[in-house]
C-alpha cells in the first residue's frame, strides 16, 4: 500500500520517556535479586542441618569493619556521582577513588576471613552444608563486588586520563545503582549469615 497518506507530524505535548540506562539497570537488579533470593533461601533452609562441624557459632566472627567500609562506599559513590553531575571532575575522582579503596578493603577482609576459615578452621565448600551455603552465598556477593570494582577501576583509569566529563554523569549514576544494590544485598547476607545463621 504505497498510497498511504502521511501521518500527523507534530505533538501537542513534549514526549519524554525514562532513560534506557536506568530501566536496563533496574531490570538487571531484578534478575540479580531473584538469583540472590534462591541462594538466601538455600542458606536459611540449611541452617543447622550440617551433619559435621565446624559450625557457624564456632568459627564465624562479625565482620563489622568490612561492613562499615562497604556501606560507607555507598555514600562516597553518591558523593562522586553528584559531583560529576555538577561538573566537578576533581571532586568526582576523589570520591570515586575513595569508593574503590573502600571496596578493596571489603574484599581484602573477605579474603582474610576465608583464609582463616580454610587454613585455620578447616572449613571448605565441601566440608559440610554450612561450608557449601556459606561460601556460595558470600562468594556470590564477593563476585559482584569484584565485578563492581573492575568497572570502578576502568572508570578511574579513564578519569585519570581526563576522559570523564560532566556528560558522563548519567552513566556514573547508572553504575552507582548497581553498587548500591550490591551494598543492599550485603545487609541481607550479613543478617542471614552472621546474625540468624550464627
Amino acid at each position: 500500500m504505497s498510497t498511504i497518506p502521511s501521518a500527523p507530524t507534530s505533538m501537542e505535548q513534549p514526549w519524554v520517556l525514562p532513560s534506557r540506562g536506568r530501566v536496563g539497570m533496574f531490570s538487571l537488579i531484578a534478575a540479580e535479586l531473584a538469583i540472590f533470593s534462591i541462594f538466601v533461601v538455600a542458606y536459611l533452609f540449611y541452617i543447622g542441618k550440617s551433619l559435621t562441624g565446624p559450625l557457624p557459632k564456632d568459627v564465624l566472627e562479625l565482620p563489622i569493619f568490612a561492613s562499615v567500609c562497604l556501606l560507607s562506599s555507598s555514600l562516597t559513590i553518591h558523593a562522586a556521582v553528584s559531583a560529576l553531575r555538577k561538573g566537578k571532575v576533581g571532586a568526582f575522582s576523589m570520591w570515586w577513588f575513595a569508593t574503590m579503596v573502600l571496596g578493596l578493603i571489603f574484599l581484602g577482609e573477605t579474603a582474610r576471613e576465608w583464609y582463616h576459615l580454610i587454613f585455620e578452621k578447616g572449613l571448605t565448600i565441601s566440608t559440610n552444608l554450612f561450608g557449601t551455603t556459606y561460601y556460595s552465598l558470600v562468594g556470590l556477593h564477593a563476585f559482584h563486588v569484584t565485578v563492581g570494582l573492575i568497572c570502578i577501576s576502568i572508570a578511574m583509569i579513564l578519569t585519570l586520563r581526563g576522559k570523564v566529563k560532566q556528560e558522563h554523569g548519567e552513566r556514573a549514576e547508572v553504575f552507582s545503582l548497581y553498587w548500591h544494590f550490591v551494598d543492599g544485598v550485603w545487609i541481607v547476607v550479613f543478617t542471614v549469615v552472621y546474625v540468624i545463621g550464627r
Binding site: M11, L17, S27, L28, L33, T133
Partner: protein, 557 residues
C-alpha cells in the same frame, strides 16, 4: 512515514561477495537481522528436537521394540525436552520479539543493540555446548555421551556418583550460558518497550503484542534467574564437591525440585504469553475487527504473570507435600485458568460478527483456540491434587503439556511465521502449500496427542523405553506414532514453502493484509533504520487512522 526510504537503501541491491555478507550477519547489531538469526537458529534445533521425538515414537510403536537401547532412549527424551524448551521455543519467541517490537513501537532498534548481539551469541553457543556432549560427554571417565537425566534433571540422578562423565556438566553449563543470554534479551526487551516508544504511543496505545512481550520479559527476569542460581549450585556440587543436593551430607533432593519448578512453571507462561501475543495480532486482522476487550486482555496477562509465580509445586504433588501446600497449589493452579479463560472469550469476542478471512495464519490461530482450550481443561483436571496422584508422571501429563506447547504455542508460531513472512522476506508465501501444511499438521497433531491421553489413563508411565504387550496400550501407541509422520510431512511442506517463497514468491508489498500496526507501514523487508521519519501515533491502530482519516480510532478510544 509511509513508504519513503532514503536513497541509501539502493546500495543494498548490488550483489556482495559471500564473505562480506557472512561478516555482516556475524557482526550485526541490527534487531531485524538478530531476530532472523534467532529464528533460523531455533528452526535448526526444531528439526533436531523433532528427530529426537521421532526416534522415541518409533521405539514405542510396538511393544518390545529394540529400535534404540534404553540408554539412547533416556538421552533422547532428555535432549528432546531440553532442546525444545531452551533452544527452540525461547529463541524463536525472542526472535519474533526482537524483530517485531521496535517496528511495532516505531523505534529504530532495540535499546541496547550490542547487548542484543551478545545475548543471541550466548544462546547460540549454549546450544552448541549442550550438543557438544554427544562428542565430549565421554570425557576422561569413558562413560555417558549426551545428558540422560531428563529435562528437569532431578537430584540425585545428577550427582557425580550417578552421572559419570561430563554429560550432565554439558547440560548444566549449556543452560547456564543460554540463561544469561535470555536474561540479557529480557532486559533489552523491557528497556526497549519502556524507553523507545514513538511519540504518542502511551502504554494504553501499545499493540497487544508489545504489552504481552513486556510481561513475558519481566517474567523471564524473575523465572530464568532461579534456574541460573540452581544451575550454579549444581555446578558447585559437581565440580567443587558442594552438598546442595547431596542427601548423604544432609542436602535436599526436593530443594532442587522446588528451584527447578520455580523456574519451570513460570517458563510455561513465558512461552505461551508470546503465543497469545501472536493470536492477539492475527485474529483481529483476519476478523476485520479491532481486538475485543483490550484493557481486559492486558489485565489478564498481568494477572497470569503474577499468579504464574505461585503455582510451581503442582509439578510436585506426587513427591509428597503436606496438605496445606497441596491445597494452596491446587487453588492457585485452578485460579490461573480464570485470566486464561478471559483471553479465550476475548478472542472469540473479536471473531464474533467479524468478516473472517480464512488465510493460513488465521487457520492456525483458530486451531490454537480449540486446542489451547482442551489443554487448559486437562490442566484443570491435573491441578486437583488427588487426580494428579493417580496420573502424575503418566502419558496423560505428557499429552497435556504437548497440547499446550504444540497445540497452543507451536500452532500460533506457525501462524506468526505465515503472517510476518511477507514483512521479513518481502515475498508472499504460497497459500495452497500453507493450507496443506495446516491440515497435515492438524491431523498429525490430533492423531498423536489426542490418543496419547488414553495410554496415560490406562497407566502407562512416561519415559519408559518399552512396554509389555496386552496392557491395552499397543493400539494407542501405534496411532500416536503414525501421527508423527503426518507432522513430519507438514513440517517438510512448511520448510519447503518458506524456501520456495523466499526465492520465487510474489512480491508482497508493504501491507499485504491491510493491517493496522506500524510494522506494516515500512517497506518489506524493512530498511536498516526501519522508519525514515519516526511515526507519531494517536490510537492503538495507527494505520487504520491513516487509511481512514474520515473515521479514525482516536475519536473513540
Amino acid at each position: 512515514m509511509a513508504s519513503e526510504t532514503i536513497a541509501l537503501a539502493a546500495a543494498h541491491d548490488v550483489p556482495q561477495p559471500i564473505g562480506t555478507i557472512l561478516h555482516d550477519w556475524v557482526t550485526t547489531v541490527d534487531h531485524k537481522k538478530l531476530g532472523i538469526l534467532y529464528i533460523l537458529y531455533a528452526l535448526i534445533f526444531l528439526v533436531i528436537g523433532g528427530i529426537e521425538a521421532t526416534i522415541m515414537r518409533i521405539q514405542l510403536i510396538i511393544p518390545h521394540n529394540d529400535f534404540v537401547s534404553p540408554q539412547v532412549f533416556n538421552r533422547m527424551f532428555t535432549m528432546h525436552g531440553t532442546t525444545m524448551i531452551f533452544f527452540v521455543a525461547m529463541p524463536i519467541l525472542f526472535g519474533f520479539a526482537n524483530y517485531l517490537i521496535p517496528l511495532m513501537i516505531g523505534a529504530r532498534d532495540m535499546a541496547f543493540p550490542r547487548l542484543n548481539a551478545w545475548s543471541f551469541w550466548l544462546t547460540a553457543f549454549g546450544g552448541m555446548l549442550l550438543y557438544f556432549s554427544f562428542i565430549g560427554g565421554n570425557g576422561l571417565y569413558g562413560a555417558g555421551t549426551a545428558p540422560d537425566v531428563g529435562w528437569f534433571a532431578y537430584a540425585p540422578l545428577t550427582a557425580t556418583a550417578f552421572s559419570i562423565g561430563h554429560s550432565t556438566d554439558f547440560w548444566t553449563l549449556g543452560l547456564l550460558v543460554s540463561g544469561f543470554g535470555s536474561i540479557g534479551t529480557a532486559i533489552n526487551i523491557l528497556a526497549t518497550i519502556v524507553c523507545l516508544r514513538c511519540p504518542g504511543m502511551t502504554l494504553g496505545k501499545m499493540p497487544l503484542l508489545v504489552w504481552l512481550n513486556l510481561v513475558m520479559a519481566a517474567m523471564v527476569l524473575l523465572a530464568i534467574s532461579p534456574l541460573t542460581a540452581a544451575q550454579m549450585m549444581l555446578s558447585l556440587d559437581r565440580f567443587l564437591g558442594a552438598h546442595f543436593f547431596d542427601t548423604l551430607a544432609g542436602g535436599s533432593a526436593v530443594m532442587w525440585m522446588h528451584f527447578f519448578w520455580i523456574f519451570g512453571h513460570p517458563e510455561v507462561y513465558v512461552l505461551v504469553i508470546p503465543a497469545f501475543a501472536f493470536a492477539s495480532e492475527i485474529i483481529p486482522v483476519f476478523s476485520r475487527k479491532p481486538i475485543f476487550g483490550y484493557p481486559v486482555m492486558v489485565a489478564a496477562t498481568i494477572c497470569i504473570g503474577f499468579v504464574g509465580f505461585s503455582v510451581w509445586a503442582h509439578h510436585m504433588f506426587t513427591v509428597g507435600m503436606n496438605s496445606y501446600a497441596n491445597s494452596f497449589f491446587t487453588i492457585t493452579t485452578m485460579a490461573i485458568g480464570v485470566p486464561t479463560g478471559i483471553k479465550i472469550f476475548n478472542w472469540i469476542g473479536t471473531m464474533w460478527g467479524g468478516k473472517i478471512v480464512f488465510k493460513t495464519p488465521m487457520l492456525f490461530c483458530i486451531a490454537f483456540l480449540f486446542q489451547f482450550l482442551i489443554a487448559g481443561l486437562t490442566g484443570i483436571m491435573l491441578s486437583a491434587a488427588p487426580f494428579d496422584w493417580q496420573l502424575g508422571n503418566s502419558y496423560f501429563v505428557v499429552a497435556h503439556f504437548h497440547y499446550v506447547i504444540v497445540g497452543g504455542i507451536l500452532f500460533t508460531l506457525f501462524g506468526a511465521f505465515y503472517y510476518w513472512f511477507p514483512k521479513m522476506s518481502g515475498r508472499m508465501y504460497n497459500e495452497t502449500l500453507g493450507k496443506l501444511h495446516f491440515w497435515l499438521f492438524l491431523i498429525g497433531f490430533h492423531l498423536t496427542f489426542d490418543f496419547m491421553h488414553v495410554p496415560g489413563l490406562l497407566g502407562m508411565p512416561r519415559r519408559i523405553y518399552t512396554y509389555e504387550p496386552g496392557r491395552g496400550w499397543d493400539i494407542w501407541n501405534l496411532i500416536c506414532t503414525i501421527g508423527v509422520f503426518f507432522q513430519i510431512a507438514g513440517t517438510a511442506v512448511f520448510v519447503g514453502n518458506l524456501l520456495w517463497s523466499y526465492f520465487k514468491g510474489k512480491a508482497a508489498g508493504n501491507d499485504p493484509w491491510d493491517a493496522w500496526t506500524l510494522e506494516w507501514s515500512t517497506s518489506s523487508p524493512p530498511v536498516e533504520y526501519n522508519f525514515a521519519r519516526i511515526p507519531i501515533v494517536k490510537s492503538r491502530r495507527p494505520l487504520w487512522d491513516i487509511k481512514h482519516p474520515e473515521d479514525p480510532d482516536w475519536k473513540y478510544e
